[in-house]
């Protein structure tokens, strides 16, 4: 009974992920990606990580994906783009990548098979925000610093790349 959400969310995530990579309209793909993220948040919840689940929704689905939507809106893609996208997705294109991904899947699944089953920790008591925070600002404070450096670097480089070169307001080089 308690496994039902997990299975449900997993199935939704898997299906939606496949939908993402096969959509021709960027916004549709984005919406499916949001669905992937939301159902992954559900999976996190089922795995006893409510804090991660909420952050996944707030930051990933709520902020990063909106950024994607925002960019798509700025690009103002039209019908011609959709047609070109369809053209690019000819069946022949998929053979090589599908082969590679399939191999990867097989290899990884083989590895997973070797993992001994976990009987002890089936209780899945949730790990709350407090313990994560204590860990983050205790032994992992250096990685928090590194993450903030990374974000700063991202901020600066995004600002630099997107800067307005000739003051035209359009970003034309």
């Amino acid at each position: 009974m308690s496994d039902l959400p997990f299975i449900l969310f997993s199935l939704v995530a898997a299906v939606a992920a496949i939908m993402v990579v096969t959509r021709a309209v960027a916004v549709h793909a984005l919406l499916y990606l949001v669905v992937v993220l939301l159902s992954l948040a559900g999976v996190f919840f089922a795995l006893g990580a409510p804090f991660a689940a909420m952050l996944e929704v707030i930051i990933y689905a709520g902020a990063v994906m909106v950024l994607f939507v925002f960019v798509v809106m700025m690009l103002n893609l039209g019908r011609s783009d959709r047609d070109r996208e369809r053209h690019w997705m000819a069946p022949a294109v998929w053979i090589g990548p599908a082969l590679l991904s399939g191999l990867l899947l097989i290899a990884l699944c083989t590895t997973l098979r070797t993992i001994p089953p976990t009987a002890a920790s089936d209780t899945m008591a949730p790990i709350g925000p407090q313990s994560v925070g204590l860990l983050l600002y205790g032994p992992y404070v250096l990685s928090v610093e590194l993450a903030s450096f990374l974000l700063l670097a991202g901020l600066v480089s995004a600002f630099h790349i997107g800067r307005n070169i000739r003051g035209t307001g359009t970003g034309e080089p």
Binding site: V25, V27, H28, L31, V34, P50, F51, A53, M54, L55, V57, I58, A61, G62, A63, V66, L67, V69, F70, V72, M73, M74, N76, P126, G128, P129
Partner: protein
């Protein structure tokens, strides 16, 4: 004392939707009062049935989808907007025993998450309409709501630090001595401003901005889909008010009167405040709105966090 869950859900839903409908009339009446005119006063006693009349009109309108729109997303957008607001109510504790998931251990984060999802309703509506006014409105909404979500999240952190919990019920219980509006006055102010921007109410209704963008993101909407946007906005106002009450004004706590009544009274007063703000304040320019957020509210909320942390550390035992 605890009511069964379906009852809670049902009552909450009915009350909320009824309230949102009622608010459409109530706001116009209050605005009329403040602006020295009548407002709707023909249908029913004092015009109270105006809301019903509007509802009937909207329900019976043709459910029209523009041929140039992206059908699926166009239909989905208002549903997302309404749904996120309703879901947020799930974690608001009306009384100690009356909430759907008031003791969810990441309750406050859940509200923030739903606020974040709420952006999609507006943004997708703007995109799916495939018209430039709607697109501009949607883009404005994306930038505005994402920015103000940051300040909202940062401002409530002070509350979380003081209460030591993300659980809404714990936060209310932590205020039994002193309402957080006193120690967290700064956070409360930022939260209120961010809340107005999140619900894109006047004065921060730039995504709609009717004198520049037509009707903004819902320019192409009509009929019940428009109605859902409309109701979602009022439900959002009630939500922000309820959150303010829960986070800063002691929730259901109060002397003499029953808890639920206290909660309703506080929320109602805040809703009136929202309407008063609409009546009193002009709409700023878009760049002014963003500047206010990033140059004033962000530092303020950071200062609030730092100060709260410092004071908590100083008072920490040992």
């Amino acid at each position: 004392m605890t009511a069964p869950m379906p009852v809670i859900i049902g009552v909450t839903l009915v009350v909320l939707l009824g309230l949102a409908t009622f608010l459409t009339w109530f706001e116009r009446r209050l605005l009329g009062l403040w602006q020295d005119r009548y407002g709707p006063n023909r249908v029913g006693p004092g015009g109270i049935l105006q809301a019903v009349a509007d509802g009937i009109k909207i329900l019976f309108k043709q459910d029209w989808i523009p041929p140039f729109a992206d059908r699926g997303v166009f239909v989905l957008a208002p549903a997302i907007g309404m749904m996120t607001v309703l879901l947020s109510f799930g974690v608001v504790p009306v009384t100690a025993f009356w909430s759907i998931a008031g003791d969810l251990n990441v309750g406050l984060l859940f509200v923030l998450a739903m606020m974040g999802m709420g952006v999609y309703g507006v943004v997708l509506a703007g995109w799916a309409s495939n018209s430039k006014y709607a697109l501009l409105g949607g883009m404005r909404a994306a930038a505005q709501m994402i920015s103000y979500e940051v300040f909202m999240g940062l401002s409530v952190l002070g509350v979380v630090m003081q209460a030591g919990s993300f659980t809404m019920r714990d936060i209310v219980l932590a205020q039994s001595g002193l309402w957080f509006v006193v120690p967290q006055a700064l956070g409360c102010a930022v939260f209120t401003l961010a809340g107005i921007a999140e619900t894109h109410r006047l004065p921060f209704d730039l995504p709609e901005g009717e004198n520049e963008l037509g009707a903004g993101f819902h320019t192409e909407y009509s009929g019940m889909k428009f109605g859902i946007f409309f109701l979602a906005e009022y439900a959002g106002v009630v939500l922000i008010s309820a959150l303010l009450v829960t986070l800063y004004l002691g929730g259901w706590q109060g002397p003499l009167l029953p808890p639920a009544l206290w909660f309703a009274l506080k929320t109602g007063a805040l809703v009136c405040l929202f309407i008063l703000l609409r009546a009193a304040l002009p709409r700023p320019r878009y760049d002014q709105l963003m500047a206010l957020g990033w140059k004033i509210l962000l530092p303020l909320s950071l200062i609030n966090i730092a100060a709260t942390g410092a004071i908590l550390l100083l008072h920490a035992p040992g």
